[in-house]
Amino acid sequence: MIVDLHPTEDQRMIEESVRAFLADRLPVERLREPAHQGGAAEAAAWAELTALGLFGLGLDEARGGLGLGLAEEALVARALGLHLVSPSVVAQMIAPHLAPDDALRAALVAGETRAAFANRIGEAGGHLIDGAGASHAVLLAGGVALIGIDALGSPEPVDAIDETVRIARMLAAFPAAPRDAASDRALLLLAAYLTGIAQATRDMAVAYAITREQFGQPIGAFQAIKHMAADMATRAAAAEAQCFHAAVTFGRGLDDGIEAAAAALLAETAALANAGANIQIHGGMGFTAECDAHLYLKRAHLLASLAGGRRLHQRRLLGTAS
């Protein structure tokens, strides 16, 4: 099988239109304002997000979607990661694939019914992420399931590492869902989002390294910084290549579970390492809340956790977990 990883003209157009919209309406700086956090800015842009076709992108036309593939969805998810868009937008992309009937699916595609991520924490309930306005939860529980948000019990707000999302702790217990094609697809979109974080932090670090001077020259001229940036680029490239290779070959006879787990593992590693390196390259400034670098680090931890964590991916890669 020959896999061409160069985006087609259509793919480029989709990605660029989404990126342009996000750069204009949901720039990362918005998160400095509490009023725009927790999915609020996304809610304000909901009609346009829906109009961009995000929520039916990979759904068959017969089922009310645009009939594109997982590769296109992954391109969009990566763009969402670049802009630290609320994870609920990714959940909304996944939800229509899980809808049990046409009416719910159509309402999800149309953005009228809204979904948010919830993840299961062992036997002990879980977290609901940016759930304001959502009636349904895309429950990440080993596999994935779409459930009514009422089934979550009464979520109670908690503070968590990423203060730019609103997290609620649920006390209801949920069964684990089995891994299946739908959960592999969901995992790939989370991996794509994490890849976006890895790339955004690489670019942010490079831009800073070119302008910031110490010892009379741009810090990017020093090998210590240059090689750190080169490693960031390499990790991001590996995550990107694996993510899109897995997406474009999805369902074509390879083991999608292993391919998706590899993408998630590499994307988690790249996002966390690059977000950390970005802070390091920004020095003292990177350590402050005034610099956006920390937003990526915190979101990377949240997304890595939603995706299930590296130990789960590792066990799946060797077939020692379901």
């Binding site: 210590a224 990177g286 402050t288």
Partner: protein
């Protein structure tokens, strides 16, 4: 290589332990702000009154005048007792005070050492600048002599507790025409002087410990210069010998406690897949065991550093090895915590706020010299490798 022991040291240790057991504050230390500062000052006052302030500081100024061995024992017992971090007293106790002891005039010592030990006044540091972080000698804050005063203009950044301190140890450029390392003076700055504007900076952890400080025609008496005018670089460099490598013992023991806490959590928490405990995963064992070995090595590296410190007046560059090891290890320990605690570990608050400690841990590889700067120093000053053409 030997164990240093004597009945006297044992007795001193027992004495430390007994006093600490009775006196370490039981109330929770406020995380930031004036309440935290007041807590720190009160705790210092209590130590002073108990006779434990400045174990190795000169007796004339309120210290105990004991040797580095007793100082070491005190640091160890202090940390083991879970006594609070010196926090907003740190610069006064571990940097400004020692600098005055080594380089201050009699009048400067008499004015400042007692108020530090009694917990009446605290200090902050004014070394880094926006354009001179890693490259301290590039500092630009200007001081011009005007009669018997210096007039200071410029800005300092990363000043810990600058908004909570009474005094500042301030490096300023008193002669811009001299080479970079010359022309710098070390000055005692009263933070209440007109013309000083203090802007707190929130860290990514949410805590506000740092400040940027702006100086607009700030007048400081020439009598506040420590050492010679234009001799500040030497003053700053010779300070470090005083602590003799003991300054990091509290952090070392704290990190060791964190690893123990993490191991306990791994034994206690159910595994993510519900089968057994987190520790049943060999990958968790490998990670935690490596961290345990590495904190033991941190303890051993600190002992080696103190062993050298007991023999050297001016510390060598080897201290960078301990600092590099600590900075990198600290970040790894806290990252491992988030990794193995799973989604619950991302919640803030709780008995031990893991995300807070994780986010704060980034500072050790950045503040006071990044890991990169430390590797340069190890390469050039410990190993004797040539300077790059760029690091002039």
């Amino acid at each position: 290589m030997k164990i240093i022991e004597s009945p006297e040291l044992d007795a001193f240790r027992d004495e430390c332990r007994a006093w600490l057991a009775d006196n370490v504050p039981r109330e929770k230390r406020p995380p930031e702000g004036p309440a935290m500062r007041d807590f720190d000052l009160a705790w210092q006052k209590r130590q002073y009154e108990g006779g434990w302030a400045g174990v190795s500081w000169p007796k004339d100024y309120g210290g105990r005048g004991l040797s580095v061995l007793e100082q070491l024992v005190w640091h160890e017992e202090y940390a083991r007792a879970g006594a609070p971090p010196s926090g907003s007293m740190f610069v006064a106790l571990s940097h400004a005070g020692p600098t005055l002891i080594v380089s201050g005039s009699k009048a400067q010592k008499a004015r400042h050492l007692p108020t530090i030990l009694r917990g009446e006044e605290n200090w902050c540091q004014g070394f880094s600048e926006p354009g001179a972080g890693s490259d301290l000698a590039a500092l630009k804050t200007r001081a011009v002599i005007d009669g018997d005063h210096l007039v200071v203009n410029g800005t300092k950044i990363w000043t810990s507790y600058g908004h909570l301190a009474t005094w500042q140890e301030l490096l300023v450029r008193t002669d811009p025409d001299l080479p970079r390392h010359k022309g710098i003076s070390w000055v005692i700055c009263d933070m209440r002087t007109p013309g000083i504007d203090i802007r707190p900076i929130k860290a990514m952890s949410g805590l506000t410990h740092f400040c940027q400080v702006f100086y607009d025609d700030v007048r400081i008496p020439l009598a506040n210069v420590v050492g010679e005018v234009n001799g500040g670089w030497r003053v700053a460099m010779t300070t470090l010998g005083f602590e003799r490598g003991t300054g990091t013992i509290a952090h070392q023991i704290e990190l060791s406690n964190t690893v123990d806490r993490l191991i306990a959590a791994a034994r206690d928490l159910p595994a993510a897949d519900g089968r057994g405990r987190v520790i049943d995963d060999g990958a968790v064992v490998a990670d935690l065991a490596t961290l345990r070995a590495e904190v033991l090595a941190l303890r051993s590296l600190t002992a080696a550093s103190v062993s050298r410190g007991m023999r050297e007046e001016v510390p060598g560059a080897e201290g960078n090895i301990v600092a590099l090891w600590f900075g990198e290890l600290s970040r790894r320990v806290h990252a491992a915590a988030l990794d193995l605690l799973g989604p619950r570990g991302l919640e803030r608050g709780g008995d031990h706020d893991w995300p807070l400690h994780y986010l704060e841990a980034y500072k050790w590889a950045i503040g006071g010299g990044t890991s990169e700067i430390r590797r340069n120093a190890i390469g050039e000053r410990v190993l004797g490798l040539p300077k790059g053409p760029s690091a002039r």
